[in-house]
């Protein structure tokens, strides 16, 4: 059995508490609101209700209605207001309630948030962190299971962060909100209830670094968000067959950590990238290209992609067939082994 990498090197020392991802994000927001009076949290139902996933629970009570507040049901206005607030020195942390409802706000995100800093030659930065509950896996209705990371990663000026577990969620959110650039912070809904010990400590690794979650020598599984957990399951099962798989959690999709990708694949010689989004023009294509550009001579097999299908995200009962299954990932690994 391969060892699990303890990720303590990533943090300074802090108290360890058992938290779900929802609670870890809540703690991070609490820390951020307490440390900087310019930080504002707003969105649909984030105030009185505390968010549909309880991520903003209790924040309005602690920090008041001027700093944590409900907005009208108008995503474009939420992001437009973020632009104005950021221009005037505030540090907005808006929430768009679900991935599919980011589409009405794309104009503000792409045309304003992402390029204001560039347009003004750095005079008007946009320290906006858009919290976006994302991806599938909770059998929600239409528009509640979308994977928009390729869209945001393809928009120059935005950074994209995707945590995979509660500890990562805590640290990545602290980094995102403190960052002077706009960050789209995609929270994997399927992992919201996942509970594990979290060290409440400062992140020490720079923005844009991926991490090795599990060491292995026969191939590398590359993922982000909920698919990291899926890949860890696959690695555990592969080990029963004598195949030792490395698991990479990219955690930042822009900037993308090419170094960690290349270093891993040079050692393991095989790469399988796993994501929930459809195959065509998905971020897996970018990952595969970077691996090929950097490790072409080391590869024992072409890079494989295991993804959602090129169809609109399906209704809840079909999710288990749409999302990458353990067997689909294992098959892709086998293709690289027997190439």
């Amino acid at each position: 059995m391969t060892e699990l990498i303890e990720h303590t090197a990533d943090t300074t020392t802090g108290p360890v508490v058992e938290l779900s991802m929802q609670q870890a994000l809540n703690r991070a927001l609490h820390t951020l609101l307490a440390e900087n009076s310019d930080t504002l949290v707003f969105g649909e139902d984030v105030g009185t209700l505390g968010g549909v996933f309880r991520v903003t629970d209790g924040l309005q009570k602690t920090f008041g209605t001027d700093r944590v507040f409900d907005t009208p049901l108008a995503e474009s206005a939420i992001m437009g207001m973020s632009v104005g607030l950021a221009m005037n020195g505030w540090r907005p942390v808006p929430e768009l309630q679900f991935d599919g409802f980011a589409y009405p706000a794309l104009d503000q995100i792409v045309n304003q948030v992402a390029r204001m800093n560039y347009r003004t030659r750095g005079a008007v930065p946009m320290p906006v962190t858009l919290r976006l509950p994302s991806f599938g896996g909770i059998q929600a209705p239409e528009h509640h299971g979308e994977s928009l990371e390729a869209l945001f990663a393809h928009t120059p000026g935005l950074k994209v962060a995707v945590p995979s577990d509660p500890g990562e969620a805590y640290r990545l959110l602290l980094q995102s909100v403190r960052c002077e650039d706009p960050v789209v912070f995609m929270e994997p809904k399927a992992r919201y209830w996942d509970k594990r010990p979290v060290e409440l400590a400062e992140p020490t690794e720079p923005v844009g670094t991926g991490r090795v979650v599990r060491r292995g020598s026969h191939g590398t599984l590359i993922a982000w968000g909920a698919m990291v957990h899926r890949c860890l399951q696959v690695a555990e099962l592969a080990a029963e067959d004598g195949v030792e798989l490395e698991v990479l959690d990219l955690r930042w999709l822009t900037p993308l950590d090419t170094d960690v990708l290349a270093a891993s694949v040079r050692r393991t010689k095989r790469a399988v990238v796993v994501h929930e989004a459809p195959l065509t023009a998905g971020l897996g294509a970018e990952v595969a290209t970077r691996v090929t550009e950097n490790c072409f001579g080391d590869l024992a097999a072409p890079v494989q992609r295991v993804t959602g299908f090129d169809v609109p995200y399906p209704a809840g009962p079909l999710e288990p067939q749409y999302l990458p299954t353990i067997d689909r990932v294992l098959l892709a690994v086998q293709r690289t082994l027997e190439y």
């Binding site: 779900s20 968010g51 549909v52 996933f53 309880r54 679900f98 896996g137 909770i138 059998q139 929600a140 209705p141 509640h144 809904k189 399927a190 209830w193 509970k195 026969h218 399951q233 555990e236 099962l237 592969a238 067959d241 004598g242 195949v243 024992a300 353990i326 067997d327 294992l330 098959l331 690994v333 086998q334 082994l337 027997e338």
Partner: protein, 113 residues
């Protein structure tokens, strides 16, 4: 099974109506009621409507009697419902179930090198 109580308050039954008159209860204290089964008939200035039960549970208290005028937001009925033992989903979706032993059909052949 552990139970918890949930009090249902009178919702706004129309466009900004502030109160409604209770016409008749469809349940008694102690009754078990299924979710979406008829709970109570209320009359507003516009119409009489039957409100379906928002919960599956036992009726433990009725907070108003027939002909009483109930303000929007005032307690209407208290249910005892089965307490959820795991984490609870939000307003949308379900909590994914974690398999203790993930199932597989595909077996791998280790590389020979």
């Amino acid at each position: 099974m552990a139970e918890e109580t949930i009090t249902f308050t009178l919702p706004d039954l129309g466009e900004g109506l502030v109160e409604a008159t209770l016409l008749d209860w469809e349940v008694d204290v102690g009754d078990h009621i299924a979710r979406n089964a008829p709970l109570v008939e209320m009359e507003t200035t516009k119409s009489a409507v039957v409100i379906p039960s928002p919960h599956d549970g036992r009726v433990v208290e009725l907070h108003a009697v027939p002909d009483e005028v109930v303000r929007v937001g005032a307690p209407l009925v208290t249910f005892a419902v089965a307490a959820a033992d795991g984490p609870r989903a939000g307003i949308v979706g379900t909590v994914p179930e974690e398999e203790s032993r993930p199932r597989r059909r595909v077996r791998l052949t280790p590389p020979t090198e």
